[in-house]
């Protein structure tokens, strides 16, 4: 396990940085917010990112992937964080695509993976039903009906859920909320009768949706994996997503920290740079320390995702450590960035606020600090 990016990963990071700085800088995100387009991201940027191969990174060559593993996603999500770029890479590729690859039968894989990799279609994952992430509490009910299944219930916080072509819906076919056994995964087309998709506009101005499934009837071919045994694949995919979010959070935190440090060196009050004040210096130094610890945890999580022989508990521990530390650090950095910028820090004119908002959403998405602290301990 290496805790340092390889030369290949560094090349990828450089190219992602150049691409996003040119095509999807913070100002673009601001435009998306002010002139909302339906998908919450710039489709042309996404098409170009697909051309660069981003959507193919984690998949094997047999399916048209690059077989780079999840490690290849780290540098890209860091760059997306730095530039505050919005793309459906997390929802469609890392979460939805992973589940089709991990659990799908050959027909499902053939139908979906190529479409995801080429960007022709988008998948979104519908797992949470409450405000706080807790996948084992899935309660949305699926019962056997005819040759297929009938689904009834609501989903909350579906990332990039507006305009997706289909949803991977986690549903309960056995047991009760809290049981990891009895969770099944279904592919639900966006046009399924009884499915209502509505916007859930969050402070980060991205694409987020709620789903209502009212007696949605699916054929037998909609089941992804085997009945009642969706948990292992779901956790694997969620851990990939959590790690990617940790990378995005670290990218945002590093960018915000650099911006704030620059401000400390240029802003003059009391006839001196405010960065000469020890009260601010020590706070900045502590943020630097948290960033360094976050990076180590992130690198360990990225490395563990691609280890074939890794047990789920070790993976869970390292991923939760990374999401916990990166989320906690990003919140600290974002809060301090606003405070240290003073009055201008609370204006919409400054980009700091945009970062703060995305940090809070990404930190909460797929498990907040407390969730991952508990999960780390549970996997000791």
């Amino acid at each position: 396990m290496s805790l340092r990016y390889s030369d290949e990963q560094r090349l990828l990071a450089d190219s992602a940085r150049d691409f996003l700085a040119a095509r999807s800088p913070v100002s673009a995100q601001r435009r998306l917010r002010d002139e909302p387009a339906a998908p919450g991201f710039d489709p042309q940027v996404w098409r170009d990112a697909v051309e660069l191969g981003w959507s193919a990174i984690p998949f094997p060559e047999d399916f048209g992937g690059l077989d780079f593993g999840c490690q290849g996603l780290g540098p890209i999500f860091e760059s997306m964080g730095r530039n505050l770029s919005a793309t459906p890479l997390l929802s469609s590729v890392v979460l939805g695509g992973s589940l089709v690859h991990l659990s799908g039968n050959p027909t499902q894989q053939a139908h979906w993976l190529q479409a995801i990799i080429t960007g022709k279609r988008r998948l979104a994952l519908a797992v949470d039903e409450r405000a706080r992430h807790d996948p084992s509490r899935v309660a949305l009910e699926a019962v056997v009906s005819g040759d297929g299944y009938r689904l009834q219930g609501d989903k909350f916080w579906v990332v990039d859920g507006l305009g997706a072509d289909a949803y991977v819906v986690a549903a309960r076919t056995r047991g009760q909320a809290g049981d990891t056994q009895g969770i099944s995964l279904f592919l639900v087309p966006a046009n399924a009768p009884g499915l209502t998709v509505s916007a859930l506009p969050l402070i980060d101005s991205r694409n987020c949706a709620r789903l209502q499934l009212d007696q949605v009837q699916l054929g037998g071919e909609a089941l992804l994996g085997t009945l009642g045994n969706g948990w292992a694949a779901l956790e694997t995919a969620l851990d990939r997503g959590r790690t990617c979010l940790a990378a995005e959070l670290l990218g945002m935190a590093e960018q915000l920290f650099e911006t704030t440090l620059e401000y400390l060196k240029t802003r003059v009050q009391f006839d001196t740079q405010i960065g000469t004040f020890q009260a601010l210096q020590h706070r900045a130094a502590k943020l630097y320390i948290d960033l360094a610890l976050s990076r180590s945890a992130l690198m360990a999580a990225l490395a563990t995702l691609d280890q074939a022989e890794q047990d789920a508990s070790t993976r869970a521990r390292l991923v939760s450590l990374a999401k916990w530390k990166a989320g906690d650090t990003a919140i600290k950095v974002a809060n301090e960035a606003v405070q240290m910028h003073g009055g201008i820090g609370v204006t919409d004119e400054l980009d700091v606020g945009l970062y703060l908002k995305r940090v809070r959403v990404a930190q909460s998405c797929l498990g907040d600090r407390d969730f991952h602290c508990e999960r780390y301990s549970a996997n000791a």
């Binding site: 290496s2 805790l3 340092r4 440090l261 400390l264 060196k265 001196t272 740079q273 960065g275 000469t276 004040f277 020890q278 601010l280 210096q281 020590h282 900045a284 130094a285 502590k286 630097y288 320390i289 360094a292 610890l293 976050s294 990076r295 180590s296 945890a297 690198m299 360990a300 450590l321 916990w324 530390k325 407390d370 602290c373 508990e374 780390y376 301990s377 000791a380």
Partner: protein, 401 residues
């Protein structure tokens, strides 16, 4: 086979044959051997291991042969260290002479000084202590006042040094003294070495809040030190001190590899003392403990990452600057949780009512207060990060962290 591969094979074979199996285990505090005029060995194997490594000249393998070293090149030293790590050899001795003073003598000592001082260090025959801090020169070390007055062929030294580890057990001291009071403080400091048995030298052990300690205050009353024992240029001691402290950091990082097993296994103790949390406060204690464990995990990964980056030739100065702060602050945070979790069991003092483990926790907790102060306080560490790593400048002129 390449020469270095041959060297690795020879080294491996020699270590296998000569490092006693009992010297390939973790160490307790009493197992440390200090090179000294009268070395003490916890067991016969420790003596054997000491003598064999000494005779191999591997106490300081990279020193030139004429000064008692083995003259190994950098590559060979790296091989030796990795082979020792491989079978978990204990350090055969601990010596400030090897780690701290030696490199300074090699770089700045006169030929005579090298010939006089280095070979006994290389044979583990002298126990050195460090005389830097003074009662009024702690974080602001350069304000030190211990005077070395010019008296012809010798200096007369008056004043005192504090926080000298094992000052009462050492044979010689290297010390920073003031040789000029009339110039800015960094420019009037010199480095000298002196025999701790000289008349007028009086070490006095210091009791800490945790009890007995290795620290001493050392008093100097008109102590005569021959001028031949001045190291480097007169009034040029500050640069030598900085050079020496760089080696302290390097030595500490090496020592870290052999580090003593931590007495404090927080998750284990939590399971023992708050086994099945019931109340909200017990759950809260477990949550606090989990945070500590996670931060410690992130720190350990950072140590590992720093090692990888160093081997790859990356700049690790930023990471090095945070290590002392992170480790000592985390240790103290851990004790804060532990003392609350163990409560009365961890607050005992010298009584058979308490188990050895409980007493260790109490003492280690009290001792952890010293960790965030000694070797550069946490506040100084943060100053260093802010100025040297983040490039924030100092409002007050003339203060160097």
């Amino acid at each position: 086979m390449s020469t270095i591969e041959q060297f690795r094979q020879d080294t491996r074979a020699w270590l296998e044959a000569n490092c006693p199996p009992s010297m390939r285990t973790g160490m307790a505090e009493g197992d440390v051997v200090w090179g000294s005029q009268n070395p003490q060995f916890p067991c016969e194997d420790a003596r054997l291991w000491f003598e064999r490594m000494r005779d191999k000249r591997w106490f300081c393998p990279e020193w030139p042969e004429e000064y008692g070293g083995a003259g190994l090149n950098e590559q060979q030293v790296a091989v030796l260290e990795s082979e020792m790590r491989r079978i978990k050899c204990r350090p055969p001795q601990i010596s400030l002479g090897v780690w701290m003073l030696g490199p300074v003598l090699l770089a700045y000592g006169s030929e005579q000084q090298k010939r006089d001082l280095l070979p006994p260090i290389a044979r583990g025959e002298v126990r050195w202590c460090q005389g830097f801090s003074e009662p009024n020169a702690g974080s602001d070390l350069a304000s030190l006042k211990m005077a070395a007055r010019d008296a012809g062929d010798h200096f007369v030294v008056d004043g005192s040094k504090i926080w000298t580890s094992y000052g009462d057990k050492s044979d010689w001291m290297y010390a920073l003294v003031r040789t000029d009071f009339s110039v800015p403080k960094h420019e009037g400091i010199s480095l000298i070495v002196l025999d701790m048995r000289s008349p007028g030298v009086k070490p006095q052990p210091i009791d800490l809040i945790s009890g007995k300690s290795a620290f001493c205050q050392v008093f100097f009353d008109a102590v005569k030190v021959p001028k031949s024992q001045l190291i480097g240029p007169l009034n040029g001691g500050w640069n030598l001190a900085k050079y020496l402290l760089q080696h302290e950091r390097k030595a500490m990082s090496k020592f870290g590899e052999f580090s003593l097993p931590s007495h404090v296994d927080l998750p284990g103790l939590m399971r023992e003392y708050v086994p099945a949390p019931q109340s909200r406060s017990e759950h809260a204690l477990h949550a606090r403990a989990a945070t500590c464990a996670m931060n410690e995990h992130a720190y350990n990964l950072t140590v590992q990452r720093m090692g990888e980056e160093a081997r790859a030739g990356d700049d690790i100065s930023g990471l090095m600057a945070i290590m002392k702060y992170v480790h000592t602050e985390q240790e103290r945070d851990k004790f804060e949780v532990l003392i609350d979790a163990m409560a009365g069991h961890a607050l005992g003092w010298d009584s058979e009512v308490f188990s050895e483990q409980q007493m260790t926790v109490s003492r280690s907790w009290l001792n952890s207060y010293a960790l965030t102060i000694s070797g550069g306080s946490s506040e100084v560490q943060l100053n260093v990060i802010a100025k040297r790593v983040l490039g924030l400048s100092d409002a007050k002129k003339g203060v160097n962290p």
